[in-house]
Symmetry: C2
Subunit: 192 residues, 2 copies
């Protein structure tokens, strides 16, 4: 998606170790018009998968998941990383390694909002190793729900997330694919 | 705002101790169409305050702040509660007591996205004691920015947040005001 790619080219920064700084328009400061355009595009790519709910992980997945869900006219659920007191004692919980935090984080969903009949479209900001998204897949499967697609804003193809998701046999769509971040560069390419 | 009030009447739950459970449509599962309508309404109420940026706190402020910012055509910044590795070492940081967590939380903003010339509109899901919002006010003031308004989805008038904000001399708007949660009830009323 050209609009997002150009923005990464202009404002993204390669911080080394595979870390792409996009906190000027995605995950600290957010450009609402850009997020709206990304949501519209993701919604169009998943218009025919029969999703009944969008699922993401707090925090930085919320903006793209919300705009995608708006265009698909679906509710969105974001997995919490700490259990709020408003949540029942019995929850769906899984652990996923966080690349940017360097430790395991919990992903928690209330059974009130994840039922066995749901068809789940997972939306997140990044597809890197796929660890967070596989955590969301496990939560959906534990609830008996079916994952029907995975959409992300930015995929780092060199971290293997797409291969990890392949056995699921579902469509995986990323708006921009980065094929290399070696030597301080950011190289864009095919999503594969 | 009638649409939000009716939704709280229908799906909100008084959990006692002033805790209103709205995680079926605001802060775990989110209704994107409702958030869009709330953002549109907040944007119209603050159309003339000259805001240059919307500020909120992760996590549950993100959805209403994003939709409000979209209608005002402004960027939105959400204060982080843990410092990501993409943030510089020098940050704006303040502490605010969290009602739902029962402890102090950090609110952190990168100086890259909060400059002295900005006119800040603060948007959050709840106005209760005003502690989180006052934390955001302190961050904005530390940066030399000016806070020009505070807008929230739901105000609990009996927790005194509006009085805490009064010395700032800025408009405070809430879409729905709850005047009492005694005896398991949820009473709606004037925002005062």
């Amino acid at each position: 998606m050209n609009e997002l790619l150009e923005r990464i080219r202009q404002d993204g920064k390669n911080l080394g170790n595979g870390i792409l700084k996009v906190d000027g328009f995605i995950n600290h400061q957010v450009d609402p018009a850009l997020m709206d355009a990304c949501g519209k595009e993701l919604a169009s790519r998943f218009a025919n998968v029969g999703a009944t709910k969008v699922l993401t992980a707090e925090i930085s997945g919320i903006a793209p998941a919300l705009t995608t869900a708006r265009y698909l006219n679906l509710p969105v659920v974001y997995a919490r990383k700490t259990k709020p007191i408003t949540m029942p004692d019995q929850v769906f919980l899984t652990l996923a390694p966080s690349h940017t935090k360097g430790r395991m984080v919990e992903l928690i969903i209330s059974p009130e909002y994840l039922a066995g009949h749901e068809k789940i479209l997972i939306i997140d900001d990044f597809l890197a190793s796929g660890a967070t998204i596989m955590g969301l897949v496990r939560l959906a499967q534990t609830a008996g729900a079916t994952v029907v697609g995975v959409g992300t804003l930015i995929e780092k193809t060199f971290e293997g997330g797409r291969e990890m998701l392949r056995p699921l046999g579902i469509p995986v769509q990323s708006l921009v694919c980065i094929t290399s971040m070696d030597k301080g560069q950011v190289q864009f390419g095919e999503c594969g």
